[in-house]
Amino acid sequence: MTAQEVRLCGLLLQEHFGEVVERIGTHLLRGGAQNLRTIANETNTPLDLVKKSLCVLVQHGACEFGSGRRGPGSPVEYRANCERVLRVLRYPRYIYTAKTLYGDTGELIVEEVLQRGHMTMSNTVKTVADRLTHNMEEGRSMEYSEVVSAFSKLVETHFLQRCPPVAEMGTAASSTTPSNPDCYKLPHVTLIGRGKRRRSSDDSEEQRGGKKAKMEVESCGDEGIYWQVNFERFHQHFRDQAVISAVASKLDQTSSEIVRTMLRMSEVTTTQTAAYTQPLSANEIFRSLPPNYSISRPILDQYLSLLVDDPVGADLDSPPHIPTLNLQRALANLARATLESVVQERFGSRSARIFRLLLRKRHLEQKQVEDFAMIPAKEAKDMLYTLLSENLVQLQEIPKTPDHAPSRTFYLYTVNQLPTARLLLQHCYKTVANLIERRLFETKENKRLLEKSQRIEAILASLQASGAEPEQLTEVEEMITAPERQQLEALRHHINKLDSTENQVDETVFLLESYIFSTKTK
C-alpha cells in the first residue's frame, strides 16, 4: 500500500461513494485491520455513519471483516482491500468489453452489477429489462428471457460469478471462489415478464408499481444467491487481447487468429495464474479455426512452427504438434516493450537504444555502451547519467581490489526489469491521481458556469414539456452568452480528454500489474 496507491484509492472512493466513505476507506487502507470502535474514534465520525460506509465497502468487496486478533471473542476487525478499490478505475473497460462481446444487454447487466456490488439474478434481470425498455421505441419492451439468456451466457463464460457465502462469526472464512464448486451454477429461477417502461406522467402509478415489484421480487426463488463480476476473468480476457494484438503487429493477421483460437479454446480450462495454456493438439486448433480463415492443414503447421521460432512474440513452446503458449514470457515481453516505449517517449530514441542495449546485454561498462550503441562518448555519458538519476538504470560496482578504490573498480550499468516495472507502476498511479485531481479542479473552477447551464437546461426541458413557443425557448437559450458557451465547450472537451487519458493510463497499469503478478506466483 504505497502512498500513491492510497491517494488514488481515496480519490476513487470519493468520486464513486462520497466523502464519508472516502474518509473511512483511506483510514482503513493506511491503518490496516481495525475494529469498529477504533475507526469511529480516529476519524471522528458518528458510529452509524461508520457502519453505513463499512456496509458500502463490504457490498463492493473492498472491505473484508474477520475475527479480531485476540481470538474469536474479540471485536470484529475490518480490512480494506487496496487492489479491489483500484479496480474501480477499470470499470469503463469492463463495461465496454461486455458490450463488444454480448451487446447492449450484456453491457447493462455488467454495469448494474458493478454499480451495486452484489446483486441477485432476478433483481438484475428486472432492472436491466426496465432500462432497456426505457430506451426502446414506443410500444416495445424487453423480454425477461432475453436478459436471462444474456445473463446465463455471461455466467457460462465465467464473467459473472456467485459471491462466496458469508462466513459465520468464529468460523474460518470460506476459501476463494475458484474452489467454490457452485460459483458458476445458475439458480433455478424462471422469470417471465417484460420490462416496464417508466413514464414521467405515471409517477404515482410507478410508486404503487414499485411496491408491487418489490413484493414480486421476494417471491422469486433465488434469495441469498448474489452475483458479482469476476474481475479475474476480465483480466484474462484483456491479457489475451494484448497478446493477440502483439502477435498481429509482429507477424500477421493469420497468426494472430491462430493465437486467438488457441486462447479461446483454453479460456475456461486455464487458471488465471497459469504460466502455460493447456496443451492442445494441432488438429483441435485446425478444427476450431473460424470458417472464413480457410487455410489448409500444412499451412497451419507452418504458421505454428513460425510462432515457435519467433523470438519475441507469443512464444509458443512446443514439442511439435502439442503447442502451448507461454503466457508468462508473453507478459514479460509486453512489459518490456512498455518500459522501452516509456523511455523512448520520455528521453528520445537514442536513450531508448541504450536502454534496450542494456536490457539485452545485462551488464555493460561505460565504454562498451558507447561502442555498441554507436553514440559519441559525451552524449552517451549524458544519457546514461540521466537514466541513472531517474532510477531506470542501476550501477553495479565490481571491485578489483579489496579496498574498493574507485580507479580500480569496474562500474557496470544494468537494467532490472522487475523493479523498474514496479517503479513505473507507481508512476502510473500518481499520474492517474493527478489526472483525476485536475478534472475535479476544472469542475470546481467552473462550478458557477456549470450550475447556470444546468438551471437553463432544466428550464428549457420544463418549458418544452409544457409546450412553449419557440420565442420563449430562444429567450431562455440566450441567457447563456456566447463566450460562456465557448467556455462550457472547452470545459467539456477538457473533461473528456482527462477521462479518456485516465483509461489509457489504466491500460499501462493493467499490463504492468499482470506482469508483476505473474512473476510473484512462481
Binding site: 519475441v312 516493450a337 534496450r356 508512476h427 499520474t431 493510463v505 499501462t508
Partner: protein
C-alpha cells in the same frame, strides 16, 4: 706422408661478413646461428660473433629473436641509409617505436623501454620527427595522449577508432545515414516478402537478408568514402537491433558459402514494434520532467500544471 692440410680459409673479417650477408640475402626470413655455422664450419664461434657484431653495428643486419633462438636478417638498404646520421640513442628509440608496430607507443613507455631520461627522449623524438622517420598520432581514447609510430605505417583501428572516426571525431551523421539506409533496405525486403502472398514459411525466409547482402548493398550505394568491412556493417545492424527495428537470427551455414563466418551466417529482418506507444506517455505526467516534485497543494501541482493546461487546449 704429407698431411692433408686442410686449407684454412683466410679468416678475413670482410670475407666473413660478405658471406654472412650473402646468406642473409639467400634466406630473406633470417638465418640462425646454426645456418652460418653449417655454411662455414671452420669458422670459430668468436670470429663469427665478431663479424655479426660488426654487421649489426654498421646497421646492416637486424637481430631478431624467435622461438628457437636468434635470427639475423638483412636490413633494408634504404633504412640502413636513413640511420646513418643518427647516433645510438636515436637508433634505440627508433627501434623501440618500430617494435610497437602500428599501435604506436606513448612517450612514457619509450622512456621505460630505453631507460633514457625524459629530456633526451623529447629531443630525440623531435629529431626523428623532423627527419620524417616517425609521426605522432592522436589517440581517440584519450584525446590528450599522443602515440608515436613509424612514418609510413597506417595507425591501427584501436587508435583512430576505425571507420567511424575521422580525425578523432565520431562521425555521428555518417552512422545515422548508414543506419537509415540499412533499415530502409531491410524494410523494403520485408514488405516485398509480405506482398508476395506465398505460404508463410517462404514469406518469412525471403524477408531475411544476410549481413553479406546488406554489406553489398551499402557498398553499391557508395555513400561511404571509407571502405566498410562486414564487421562494420554488422555493428550498424546491431544498433538497429537495439533500436528495436530489426531482429537477427543465426543459422548454421556451410563453410565456403558466401558471407559465412566460422560456419554461421547472420540473418536480419525488419520487424514492427509489438505494441503501440503505451498509455502512460499519452498523459503529460508520463513525460513531465518535474514529475517527482509535483504534489497537491505545492508549487507544482496538478491543479496549476502548465503542461496540463497546454495539453488540454491542444
Amino acid at each position: 706422408m704429407a698431411d692433408v692440410k686442410v686449407k684454412k680459409e683466410s679468416s678475413d673479417p670482410v670475407d666473413i661478413e660478405n658471406r654472412i650477408k650473402a646468406l642473409c640475402q639467400q634466406f630473406p626470413h633470417g638465418i640462425t646461428d646454426q645456418v652460418i655455422q653449417n655454411d662455414m664450419p671452420h669458422l670459430e664461434a668468436q670470429q663469427r660473433a665478431m663479424a655479426i657484431n660488426r654487421l649489426l653495428s654498421l646497421g646492416q643486419l637486424d637481430l631478431l629473436r624467435n622461438s628457437s633462438g636468434l635470427l639475423y636478417r638483412m636490413k633494408d638498404a634504404q633504412t640502413a641509409s636513413k640511420m646513418k646520421g643518427s647516433d645510438n640513442q636515436e637508433k634505440l628509440v627508433y627501434q623501440v617505436i618500430e617494435d610497437a608496430g602500428n599501435k604506436g607507443i606513448w612517450s612514457r613507455d619509450i622512456r621505460y623501454k630505453s631507460n633514457l631520461p625524459l629530456t633526451e627522449i623529447n629531443k630525440i623524438l623531435k629529431n626523428l620527427e623532423s627527419k620524417k622517420l616517425i609521426k605522432a598520432v592522436k589517440s581517440v581514447a584519450a584525446s590528450k595522449k599522443k602515440v608515436y609510430m613509424l612514418y609510413n605505417l597506417q595507425p591501427d583501428r584501436s587508435v583512430t577508432g576505425g571507420a567511424w572516426y575521422s580525425d578523432q571525431d565520431f562521425e555521428s551523421e555518417f552512422v545515422e545515414v548508414l543506419n537509415q539506409q540499412c533499415f530502409k533496405f531491410l524494410q523494403s525486403k520485408a514488405e516485398a516478402a509480405r506482398d508476395s502472398k506465398q505460404n508463410p514459411m517462404v514469406q518469412r525466409n525471403s524477408s531475411f537478408a544476410t549481413s553479406h547482402e546488406v554489406w553489398k548493398y551499402i557498398c553499391e550505394l557508395g555513400i561511404s568514402k571509407v571502405d566498410l568491412s562486414m564487421e562494420d556493417i554488422e555493428t550498424i545492424l546491431n544498433t538497429l537491433i537495439y533500436d528495436g527495428k530489426v531482429e537477427m537470427t543465426i543459422i548454421a551455414a556451410k563453410e565456403g558459402t558466401v558471407g559465412s563466418v566460422d560456419g554461421q551466417m547472420k540473418l536480419y529482418r525488419g520487424v514492427n514494434p509489438i505494441i503501440q506507444p503505451t498509455g502512460l506517455v499519452k498523459a503529460p505526467c508520463g513525460l513531465c520532467p518535474v514529475f517527482d516534485d509535483c504534489h497537491e497543494g505545492g508549487e507544482i501541482s496538478p491543479s496549476n500544471c502548465v503542461y496540463m493546461a497546454e495539453w488540454l487546449d491542444f
